[in-house]
Symmetry: C2
Subunit: 342 residues, 2 copies
């Protein structure tokens, strides 16, 4: 069994996890037990939510991390030792629940896995638009947002994979997709490459006016990855009986304790809004439905996507930080090894 | 046909409506048209939402008021002229949609009416626990809040009729009801007369600790009539997958434009909460279901209630203001005339 490098959380972060909270340690690999497989990881997914698992002290929706734990991560890999009838050596798999972990190898029970068809899409997309972020977009937009034909869905943090996928799912349902992203390059990308109907730059001085102009009948569904001022702005523009999906809070991840004040929540009452917090951990029993639906729309070419691949498990920290500076475009993944190795 | 005194909105208020916005004018009464009845009003309901209809400029959920309109109000009365087969002269009726109006007489189409059985309850209760406030509590608690056996439901503005009814509906469903009210007298009333499981005084210095102690497993349903600081406090105490019903915002009715900042909305995301604004105008097609359910529980003695009756249409303004100072206990109604008159 090969040695295994693992990113271990050595101290709980209060804000963004960094060198003082994380350490790369080497440990021997175990043998898989009955019903388990040993996976060599090919690509690991970098997601803002990983910081949430490290930061959070409450055990809500899928488990938080303790000091000494391997950093949670979703990944795709190849089975190199198997005690599972369903996943023989050589199968490609992704993990359902984010316990692949930031490490070279992982042992997982077959109940935690979902098969990967390498012919369907490159591996980075299998943990992006077709993986956990795709599931997040699916349950948030389809189950909570429920866009109807002719409606307008706004997505903040639009240029991330959850955002691009959520907007396209709204379009699949016949709604218009309006993105909110940082800078003219990302906005162009959203419209020209991903195919959003419009995209508004939150850094523009006339952001409020641009957003209002892009949503002449108000916002029917707001899929929010950001919180803070952008949420407050969208709250005031929600159409009567609109829906807000709280999926992330990038603007507040560094905030300890209370978040900055939200003022326009009057519209929840006045506008008969429905506002729900999303955690995919509430949907375990519907993952197969979501995987199948996403793969169907993907085959039809209705889910455009883009990945940015960084190299090397050892580079986890600086690459992870790119998620929070807005430096990346598309789904950020870390390549652990080439498919052909091992 | 008798003369009709009507409270007319002569100027739109920005905060609480007062003498400068309202004028009592006398006009002749009309004849009812086909399918309509002329009603002499016996009791009219005083509700915080009336100020919302006056203040609001957006036409959402049931119509806002224009300068020159009769002040909207729900009421109970007796038919004194009829061109309706369903409601002959002498029938008692209440209006469904709040267009009885602050006036001596009203003409309404039969589709706007619901029959009143005088033997079931005194008239003030027919427009309280069994009227629009009862419907509000019903749709808010049953349809949005969905309390389950063993859960804890917290109600702010608990001593109002919507609050007392909402908490008791949670109890009907097997949940614990915890009130939030102002002052020890109201809190005693909530527990001893209405039968809430606990009631916390928001004016107490240790309000936060008392509320936390009353909800050891967190708040599963929060039915909010107040907004502001009490909402912020409850947000931080919501149990995972809890539900918030925004029914009113007494703490913010005087506020122009943006409301005071809300900080603990992080829990919508982290706690997978569902937060919905309630307007009974979204439930027109389910009113009969609600009336029937409320009357059923009322007959079983499961809906305790209390009314405070003030006298005389001409006293509308000072009596209405009692709603906003916390001076009243129970459902505030205005007696227009004695049942035996006319």
């Amino acid at each position: 069994m090969p040695d295994n490098r693992q990113w271990i959380m050595v101290k709980k972060p209060e804000g963004l996890a960094s060198e003082e909270h994380l350490e790369l340690k080497t440990r021997p690999t175990d043998e898989p037990g009955s019903g388990e497989v040993l996976i060599e990881q090919l690509y690991l997914s970098l997601d803002p939510g990983q910081n949430f698992y490290m930061q959070s002290s409450a055990d809500v929706g899928g488990g938080t991390m303790k000091v000494g734990d391997v950093v949670r991560a979703w990944g795709v890999g190849r089975v190199i030792a198997s005690k599972s009838g369903r996943y023989p050596v050589g199968s490609y798999v992704r993990d359902r629940y984010g316990f692949a972990g930031m490490q070279d190898y992982t042992i997982l029970p077959e109940s935690s896995l979902y098969p990967v068809d390498p012919a369907l899409a490159p591996f980075p997309a299998q943990i992006g638009v077709l993986g956990m972020p795709g599931l997040t977009a699916y349950f948030g937009m389809i189950d909570i947002g429920r866009p109807q034909a002719g409606e307008t869905a706004v997505v903040s943090g639009a240029a991330g994979v959850v955002g691009t996928t959520a907007g396209q799912l709204a379009q699949v349902k016949g709604a218009r997709a309006v993105g909110i992203a940082g800078g003219p390059d990302k906005c162009r990308y959203m419209v020209q490459e991903i195919g959003f109907d419009a995209c508004v730059d939150y850094r523009a001085e006339d952001f409020e006016e641009q957003l209002a102009a892009a949503c002449p009948n108000g916002i029917d569904v707001f899929f929010d990855n950001v919180a803070g001022k952008i949420l407050d702005s969208c709250l005031s523009k929600m159409a009567y009986r609109g829906r807000i999906v709280s999926c992330g809070a990038i603007a507040e991840y560094g905030t300890v304790g209370q978040w900055r004040g939200l003022h326009n929540y009057w519209n929840v009452l006045v506008g008969s809004l429905r506002w729900e917090g999303l955690s995919i951990h509430n949907y375990y029993d519907r993952y197969d439905e979501a995987y199948a639906a996403l793969e169907g729309w993907f085959r039809e070419g209705r889910l455009r996507h883009r990945e940015e691949v960084a190299d090397g498990l050892e580079n986890f920290i600086p690459v992870f930080h790119r998620l929070f500076t807005g430096a990346n475009l598309g789904k950020l993944v870390l390549k652990i090894r080439d498919e052909a190795v091992a």
